[in-house]
């Protein structure tokens, strides 16, 4: 079972308390009417789907109820970190250097 750290509860808790909520840092266009059909399609459906580190949203739905962001390796399923919603996308190279 995956253990996930909730940045609001500041506790590492089992996966059944959480719900996955798709890729993170995708801002809704401020003026959807200004977009072409292709741009709107890309906003709605096109995701990065990387092999490796993925920035994604989770919700501590059976807990504090909050959405937060996580960096998870899509190959190993390992979480590199979690952080509060609204915080900027972390720089992973800096993280790695700090850990070394």
């Amino acid at each position: 079972m995956l253990l996930i750290h909730c940045p609001y509860c500041d506790e590492t808790l089992p996966e059944p308390e959480f719900a996955y909520a798709g890729e993170a840092h995708i801002a809704r266009p401020a003026d959807p009417m200004a977009l072409s059909d292709e741009e709107w399609r890309d906003f709605l459906f096109i995701r990065s789907n990387p092999r490796g580190n993925h920035f994604e949203r989770w919700r501590h739905v059976n807990g504090c109820g909050r959405f937060f962001n996580a960096v998870r390796d899509t190959v190993s399923d390992k979480f590199a970190m979690t952080y509060r919603a609204g915080e900027p996308r972390p720089n992973l190279d800096a993280l790695k250097e700090a850990a070394e």
Partner: protein, 176 residues
């Protein structure tokens, strides 16, 4: 209305009962309004998730960054419902009849909870609580004492949770 449990096995290991309803509220407000709400309610509102506070028979449990569960005596329900009116932006909803609260006590209570809860309940300190999930059912667990817990679930799931607790208590009573 209180769910009736007729046939929980008598056991020294773990006992399950349904607590009678007092009054329960769900309170949502922003951090900036917390102090004003505390004064109006006559009750400290803990700012860390999982912490509880008590004063004058009223109790608050912090469930989220902007969310508390309030338990108050039934006679005070009307007073609490109107306590925050005027000036304090908030949402306060009485949820007394929404939930069934089980009291689980005895040396087997940790084992019984472990049949449905994935988190490590041993690490929950006395006097703290959490919203979690019990066999797929969202539940609010509070550790009232070393071997004494309350588990509150929404009414429509109560019979499922009750049946699981019954089976678990029976197995623990038989030493399985």
């Amino acid at each position: 209305m209180t769910a009736q449990i007729h046939s929980f096995p008598r056991s020294t290991a773990v006992a399950v009962t349904v607590l009678p309803l007092e009054a329960r509220f769900s309170l949502r407000l922003r951090a900036a309004s917390r102090e004003a709400a505390e004064a109006a309610l006559g009750l400290p509102l803990p700012d860390r998730i999982g912490r509880t506070s008590e004063q004058g028979g009223r109790r608050a449990l912090c469930l989220g960054p902007d969310e508390w569960r309030l338990d108050v005596p039934a006679a005070e329900a009307a007073a609490v419902a109107g306590a925050l009116e005027g000036g304090i932006p908030h949402a306060l909803v009485e949820v007394t009849d929404r939930e069934v609260t089980f009291l689980i006590e005895g040396p087997g209570s940790l084992d019984l909870l472990a049949i449905g809860i994935a988190r490590d309940v041993r690490r929950l300190e006395v006097g703290r609580g959490a919203r979690t999930v019990f066999d797929g059912v969202q539940a609010v667990l509070v550790r009232e004492g070393e071997e004494r817990f309350t588990l509150a679930v929404w009414r429509s799931y109560a019979s499922h949770v009750e049946e699981l607790l019954r089976q678990g208590a029976r197995e623990i009573a038989l030493g399985l």
